[in-house]
Amino acid sequence: MHPAAWIFWVTCAAIVAFTTTDPFYLGLLVAVAWFVYAACHVPGPTARSFRVFLIAGLVAMGIRTLLVFLGTIELGSVVYAALEGMRLAAILVVFGTFNAVTDPFGVVRLAPRRFHEPALAAALALAIAPRTIASVHRVREAQALRGLSTARWRSLPALAIPILETGMEDAVTLAESMDARGHGRGTRTRYRPQRWSAAAVATVLAASAAGAAFIVAATTRTGGLHPSTFPLIWPVASPWLLAAIGLLAVPGVIGRGRDA
């Protein structure tokens, strides 16, 4: 699928996560992200980024909740902090899915030539997490094959040096390959431009409908986007907004059918 469609998808999914603290909306969004990841992820090392971002999200949620225990502890404030943390976790999971389903360098190619350099920097920044995850995986595998213990904290320095070295090598390789492709010389032809498929168009339409629904709900203060924690009440969910989140699963449904 066209990387621009994925950018659209992740933007709209992040808008949904950003505008609400309702656990129903956020829970459904995480489930949708998981479904899209399962159906559409690119096989390879970057696919692991979903799991890593999910763990990072859970850790962030835990830390956000534990911070409450430094102050006066009330059930309402604990729930409030947990919901705020859940929003953060949902955003991280959505970006984990985005990392797993796209090729970061495919994203760079989308940028107009004038903005190619900043786009490249952004893509490299985005790609740091999945690339590091992949290299940690490789190094640990290599160490395990040589009979070295990889589970202990003591093995951390032995892990860090090869990873830093790999990162350096990656950077040099990237610079050489950019130079070889005439990057920065002004002339650049587009090799094998990606086409907009019907699936990409459907994804863009569905995702923009979901994002628009939540923007409208946030500006008109409807739909119970922020359930009250003082007093602590059971959150309600609007069926329309739930259906809007469901629209974000469209790329997963399409990708699933195509792979089968």
Binding site: V32, P43, G76, S228, W234
Partner: protein, 294 residues
């Protein structure tokens, strides 16, 4: 076979996530006891003012806990924000998010009664203010960042709000003095639909009219206070319920009601949990099938 297993897994997930529902907190109804310490809470939405004679469950409570007590005793609708330290919504008026200044310049101004029927602008959070027996607390919706610009509730003392100790069934005789303040009252009702700003300035005008009446006579309640008659189902004494016999109810005294029962999760919640379980299981099977195919 696989379908049956996925259904069973989904069902397990559903039951697991729904278990906390059964532990919905029970709500206790506290009745106003005559001898217990009590404080007055005055809520001015800009279009109507409701007073609450709140029985305190401790010698001294916080300003926010007073609102919680009024909710438990009278069914006052409220919502706190900023982690429970600010007031976002009272009596159906205000902000539904956690940013209580979401409707700025209109917001809930906080005032303390000065003991003589007047109001003093509060400088701190209601969560930190200690409310003692006999105190008067005021909340007023409107614009203005100080006590001089923000509309104040009508002047009320603790005896105006809590005189039921002397006379359990107040005499329904205010029709005689009713005509004199009816001009101010009609004014207040007329701009009721105007929203925060217009209603706020108008409320300030009517409060000025109220302060003109001598507040020294604590024995007789102000004629502009109307007692809500019955209607225990109404959450916070609605002006419609209090209307019989009175032309323009500016100030409504809330009738003690049982708080609305906090229901369990609505049907939409179960549907959501089902959808989450379905997507989770569906994703898991997709992943397994892709791994098997690769």
């Amino acid at each position: 076979m696989g379908r049956a297993r996925s259904f069973a897994l989904g069902l397990t997930l559903l039951v697991g996530t729904c278990a906390p529902v059964l532990l919905s907190p029970g709500t206790a109804c506290a009745a106003t006891a005559a001898a217990a310490p009590h404080a007055a809470l005055v809520v001015d939405t800009g279009t109507r003012t409701t007073t609450y004679c709140v029985a305190l469950d401790d010698g001294s409570v916080s300003g926010t806990h007073l609102i919680e007590l009024a909710s438990a005793q009278y069914g006052l609708d409220y919502r706190f924000g900023f982690a429970g330290r600010a007031i976002c919504r009272l009596d159906g008026v205000g902000v539904d998010g956690d940013d209580c200044f979401g409707a700025y310049p209109d917001y809930w101004g906080y005032l303390h009664g000065d003991g003589a029927g007047g109001w003093a602008w509060a400088t701190g959070s209601a969560a930190d203010h200690a409310v003692d027996d006999g105190d008067v607390e005021g909340w007023s919706w409107g614009a203005g960042d100080s006590g001089t610009t923000h509309p104040a509730p009508p002047a009320l003392s603790i005896d105006d709000v809590c005189d039921q100790l002397d006379s359990p069934t107040p005499s329904p005789s205010p029709p005689a003095p009713a005509p004199s303040p009816s001009s101010g009252g009609g004014n207040g009702n007329g701009s009721g639909s105007g929203g925060g700003g217009g209603g706020g300035t108008d409320s300030a005008g009517s409060s000025g009219a109220a302060t003109a009446t001598p507040s020294s006579s604590v024995s007789s309640p102000s004629p502009r206070i109307h007692h809500a008659s019955g209607s225990p189902a109404a959450p916070a004494g609605s002006p419609v319920a209090a209307a019989p016999g009175s032309a323009s109810p500016d100030v409504v005294r809330a009738a003690a009601t049982a708080p609305p029962a906090s229901g369990g999760p609505p049907f939409g919640g179960l549907v959501t949990l089902g959808a989450i379980a379905l997507l989770g299981v569906g994703g898991w099977f997709t992943l397994r099938r892709r791994k098997g195919g690769a």
